[in-house]
Every structure is written in C-alpha cells, then in structure tokens.
C-alpha cells in the first residue's frame, strides 16, 4: 500500500513537471539577460535583476488593454455559451422530437470545420451586420464554436440526472423551465464549471478570428497582441516571454477558481443507488 502511494506521488510529480515546465521555462527566459540567452548550457534559474522586463511589458506595450479585451471576449463567450447551451442540452437529453439524432450529429459536424475555412463567410456576414471590428462580433464567433461542444458535454451530464427527481418536481408543481433551472442546473453544476473552463479557454486563446475581424488597435486581444511582437527582422524574446507568461496567468487563475466546483458526487443522496 505504502509502496503504491509512493509510486503514485512520483508519477504525479513527473506529470506535474511535464505540465509546468514550459511555463517555468517561459519565466526563466524572460528573466535571462540577452547575452546569456543562447548559452550552450541552458540557464535554469531566473535572474531577478531582469524583473524590469515585466514592468516594461506593461509600460511600453498596450498589454493592459489587450488583457482587458481578451477578458471581455473570454467571459462573454463563457456566459453566452452556457446560456445558449443549457436548454438545447436538456432538449437533446430529455425530449423526443423528429430529427433529434440529426440535430445532435449536426452539432458534431460543426466541430469538423476548421476556423480558417469560416473566416471569409463570417467576415462577409459580420460586415453586413456591422459586427466587424467589435468585441461583440468576436464573442459571437467564438460562441458559435463552443456552443456545440458545451451542449454535448451538458447533455451527457443531464443524462445522468435521475428522471425521478424531475418527476418529483413535476408533481410538486414545477414547470419545465422551473425543473431545468431549479433542479437540473444545480445538479449539473460540476459539469457546468468544466464546460465554462472549456469556453473560457477557447475565448481566451482564440487567434484567427481576432486577427482577422479586429483592425482597431484598441480592440486587439492579447493573443493577437502577443503575435504582433514577432517581427520579420527581430523578435524581442524577453518581451514575448514576459507577455506570454502574463497572458497565461489569468487562464490558470480562472481554472483554479472554477476547479473547486468540479467535484464529483453532487447527486449523491437524492436517489437510492
């Protein structure tokens, strides 16, 4: 038993190292003096005297504005995706209607189209709707991509809610909408949190639409801003790494915040297993 748990701890540490090392490497590189960047032996300890790089990232670039824009897009995408997915997921899980299978499959189909293929038609549509060069347009485009995924994830969770609980609510006087909002949604909260993470990350990381649809500097998101450092002739490695590190942090913080809701066993106790 003890041997087993030691092995497990080791395995977790190794995996943690694999996952966290790129982040650490980014931090170290951003804090390494330029002359030592291309040393034969890589430098694995940050040089604290270089900390000014981070201050410079904020003062010399529009990083603050980019992060705010990214946050608006990511939060907007998350909220809208969840709002638009709960009812379709419930319908796919619980109701019987013609074309249900087809609809479910069609949702999957959307995931097979690469973003790049949709850029041109979306650009055309957004031009007509005056959504070009707006954060709202970006939120809508991202939401269109996350809704199918989130719908399927939530459908899976709703499938797991015992139907007796819903029937009990019906007998107790709940409407359909009441059942979804007062009974089903609280019971699938862990999955909602997981789905929120997926939607948030999609909105936060999205690049192709942000690059194409946004031309106004003030509306740029961090993903585009970060890429803008990479020049034809030179790339300021320090700044790229520092901005990259800062760019990663909010996503990690969001995950840590939501993570505590992603706990199993929410429906325990309602029905006898």
């Amino acid at each position: 038993m003890k041997h087993n748990s030691t092995a497990r701890t080791l395995a977790v540490l190794v995996l943690l190292g694999v996952a966290a090392f790129p982040l650490y490497w980014m931090l170290v590189t951003s804090l390494t003096p330029s002359e030592r960047l291309f040393d034969d032996t890589p430098n694995l300890l940050p040089t604290l005297s270089q900390i000014g790089t981070y201050a410079a990232a904020f003062t010399e670039t529009s990083l603050r504005q980019w992060l705010v824009n990214s946050l608006i897009v990511a939060v907007g995408t998350t909220v809208l995706s969840i709002l638009l997915s709960v009812l379709p997921a419930y319908a796919l899980s619980r109701l019987t209607f013609n074309g249900k299978l087809l609809l479910g499959f069609a949702l999957f189909m959307t995931q097979m189209l690469p973003e790049a293929m949709l850029v041109v038609p979306l650009y055309d549509i957004f031009t007509k709707l005056s959504l070009l060069n707006t954060l709202l347009g970006l939120i809508l485009a991202n939401t269109a991509f996350t809704v199918p995924v989130v719908t399927w994830i939530l459908k899976g969770a709703i499938d797991g809610v015992p139907s007796e609980i819903e029937e009990a609510a019906r007998v107790d006087g709940c409407s359909r909408l009441g059942i979804v909002l007062a009974v089903v949604v609280p019971l699938i909260a862990p999955t909602l949190a997981a789905a929120a993470v997926i939607a948030f990350f999609h909105g936060w990381n999205e690049y192709v639409f942000a690059q194409t649809f946004i031309s106004d500097d003030a509306l740029r998101t961090a993903s585009v801003g970060l890429a803008s450092f990479v020049g034809e002739l030179s790339t300021p490695v320090h700044t790229v790494m520092a901005v990259g590190f800062i760019y990663t942090l909010p996503a990690v913080v969001f995950y840590l915040f939501v993570q505590r809701y992603v706990v199993a066993g929410m429906t325990t106790g309602g029905v006898k297993g």
């Binding site: 015992p162 007796e164 609980i165 029937e167 009990a168 609510a169 019906r170 007998v171 107790d172 006087g173 709940c174 909408l177 009441g178 909002l181 007062a182 009974v183 609280p186 019971l187 909260a189 066993g265 929410m266 429906t267 325990t268 106790g269 309602g270 029905v271 006898k272």
Partner: protein, 411 residues
C-alpha cells in the same frame, strides 16, 4: 375522495401494457396495486399521477376527471421508490419545496433574486411552522438543516414522505417506497405509513410486489398480471376467495396447494379417495359442469388445511416426506403424493408435491411414509381449464367470519 379508473388502457406502439383496467376505491381507502415486476402496476400509478398519459379510458378523483390535467393540478403527492429527493437542497427545503412552488412567480427563475424570494417563502411563519410540524411527526427535526446525502435510507424515505404530507394532498401515490430498505426498517416504516393513513386520511394508492405489505396495509388490493386485473377486493376476499389459480398461488406463503381432483355431486375425488363436500359449500353449477355433473377441478387448499396423519388412516392420500423446514412456530413439510398430480405453477406445470404446515416442531423425517388428510372447510375449487374459481368454502361461512386465514412469512 374516491379514485376511479374506468377502462384504462395504456399502449406503447403496438404493445399494450395495461389492458382495460377498471377499479374504484372509495373515500380514505388504502388501495394496493399488487403484482410481480412488469405487471403494469407502476404504470397505473404513474397514469394516476399524470407522469404517463392514458391511451384510452378515464381517471377520476373525487368525481372530477383528472387524466387530462398536468401532474401538478391533480392534487396528488407521489413518493418514489428511489425517494427522488433534491440532493442540492437541505431537508427543510426539500419538504418546503411543494409549498414554495405554490407561490412561484416567473421572476423566481432569475438567479439570486429568485433565491432570495424562495428563501423568504421558506422562512415565512406559516411555511416554517408547517414544515417543522411535519418534520416533528416524522422525527426529522434534528436533521432539518442537513442534506439528503448525510441521511440514512430510512430518514431519506421519511423526508420523501414529509414532502408528500406537507401538501395535504387528496391522494398519496407511493411506488414501492419500502423496497430499498432493509427488512427491519421496512416493517417499522410499514407501520408508520399505515398510521399516517389513519391519521391524515385521504386516498392512498400503494404499489408493491410484496404480498405481506399488500395484506397488512391495504384496505383494498388490486392484483395485476401482465397488464390485466386479476382480482380486486379486500385482503380477506383475496386470501379466502381467490378469483383464479394465479391469485391463489400469488397470495399466501407458502402458496396454496392446487390438487388435481374431480367434483361429482356432493363429493370430490382425489386419486382413489372420495371425500364429501360440506353441505353449505359453493359447488360448480350443474350447467357449468357440462356432460353430467362431473367436473375436473383444481382443489385449492392452504398448507394449513392439510394434515399429516399415519399412512393408510381413513381416506388420507398416501405420500412420502421430501423436505422438512422448521420455521419456529410451525414446520413446513413437503410431501410427494403417489398417484395424484398437483399444479406447480399457474402455467400448467405439473408436479406431485404438496406443502403442509403443522404447528410446532415436527419430528418427521425425510423419506418417511405418511398420509395426507384434506380438511375441506377452508378450500377453493378452480375449473381445470380456465383456472377460474367455481366454488369453495360456504358463502355464509365466509360472511359469518369463519376461520380467519393466517398469513405466514417465509422467514
């Protein structure tokens, strides 16, 4: 309020699961729907509750047709086999939930604002008082602010009962509410539900596959099989005058013995023995016997209506002991009869064994030759082909009380 089912049929596509069932239970009746799993009893209950639609026929509650109303408008409470508590709510909120729903407004859907109003209803003096009184009756006061997952099975079941009681509905519908509890708790909860019925009144409709529950709790039993109603009557009627061989074998532990016999006039012939029927016994009418007054029947005798006697005594049937089970207050003796068939089940399976119960501890040994005496006081006669009851103990004997059958548990 009276519950009435009128020619209720339920089909899923071409499959008919409930076939033309009619029954009526008067005010404050405890109606038990009894039958093996898959017989359609739960479907009937769900149709009464409105959780399933009725394919044809009508359901009335208190003279009002309800089968087209949504579940919430039928004034019925439902207790599920799996309890179906709301796991994310405290016991207090679970019990108060139907009351909150009564005052529900659309803006309660809005997060936070809705929560505030729901809490306000929950904390209003009248709801609070009602919930606490209900909890007190069910000994749940101490756990009111806990979540269902921290409760034991019996407590969860009581919360489910509380959620039903708090609405003061005109009918309580219960779908095998005790089948998830252990034997001891089940007996205790059985008594609690019976007392609840006596205290709060109202119609109870209770689904179970357990004949002991049906016999002890019900004022009326509807015995179902494959979507058909087999018999509808008081527990005593069903036990003493089963309508057919299926009912006879289903009710009573161990089940009734069905012995191959022939009725001729006032006598019944079993193997080589000819026994006189009691004067007042119901007998198959001459017109039904067809071709003379002889009729092939199953003679139905409860294990207590058979007696073990020394072999060859009087008109006893010869046999050999094959099994002796000591149950405590009585012993159950299986005896293989020679030259006489008995029905093994309702599907025509034949055997030649009967089950006899004798009081006290029996000293009989397996393999011992014995005689079996049939005590024709408490018996039923079933037509051989149809399995329908065609006669038995005297009608007036039944009405006058006679000997009341005892129900034994196998354990």
């Amino acid at each position: 309020m009276a519950i009435k089912l009128q020619n209720v049929t339920k089909s899923f596509g071409s499959l008919t699961v409930i076939d033309n069932v009619s029954l009526e239970a008067g005010d404050d009746e405890f109606l038990v729907l009894l039958g093996p799993s898959g017989c359609g009893k739960s479907t009937i209950l769900r149709m009464i509750a409105g959780l399933e639609t009725v394919t044809s026929g009508e359901i009335h509650l208190g003279g009002k047709r309800v089968d087209e109303l949504p579940p919430s408008d039928r004034d019925m409470a439902f207790v599920f086999q799996s309890y179906a508590l709301y796991p994310h709510m405290t016991v207090r909120r679970n019990i108060a939930f139907p009351l909150i729903m009564r005052q529900f407004r659309w803006w309660f859907h809005i997060p936070f604002i809705g929560d505030y109003f729901k809490r306000r209803i929950e904390n209003s003096p009248e709801v609070r008082e009602l919930v606490e009184r209900t909890a007190d009756t069910l000994a749940l006061t101490k756990v009111l602010d806990r979540h269902p997952r921290t409760l034991s099975g019996g407590q969860r079941q009581r919360v489910a009962l509380g959620r039903a009681m708090v609405r003061e509905p005109s009918a309580f519908l219960m779908d095998e509410p005790l089948s998830n509890l252990d034997a001891k708790l089940r007996t205790a909860m059985r008594a609690e539900i019976t007392q609840l019925h006596q205290r709060v009144g109202g119609n109870f409709v209770y689904v179970t596959h357990d004949q002991i529950e049906a016999m002890t709790m019900g004022t009326r039993i509807a015995l179902m099989r494959d979507g058909h109603l087999q018999q509808y009557g008081t527990p005593r009627e069903i036990y003493e005058k089963p309508a057919n061989t299926y009912v006879a074998r289903f009710i009573g532990t161990p089940p009734m013995n069905l012995i191959d016999a022939e009725v001729e006039g006032m006598t019944v012939r079993i193997g080589n023995s000819v026994l006189p029927l009691p004067d007042k016994a119901e007998r198959p009418g001459a017109e039904r016997a067809g071709g003379g007054s002889r009729m092939k029947v199953w003679l139905g005798l409860r294990p207590g209506a058979l007696a073990v006697v020394p072999p060859g005594q009087g008109k006893s049937l010869p046999g050999t002991v094959t099994l002796v089970e000591h149950v405590g207050a009585e012993s159950l003796i299986s005896v293989k009869l020679s030259g006489v068939h008995t029905a093994h089940d309702d599907d025509g399976g034949l055997t030649d064994e009967v089950m006899v119960s004798v009081p006290g501890y029996s000293e009989l040994r397996v393999g011992e030759a014995v005689g079996i005496d049939c005590l024709l006081k408490d018996f039923s006669l079933f037509e051989k082909d149809s399995g329908l009851r065609v006669g038995g103990r005297a009608a007036e004997d039944f009405l006058a009380g006679g000997r009341v059958g005892t129900i034994r548990t196998a354990s």
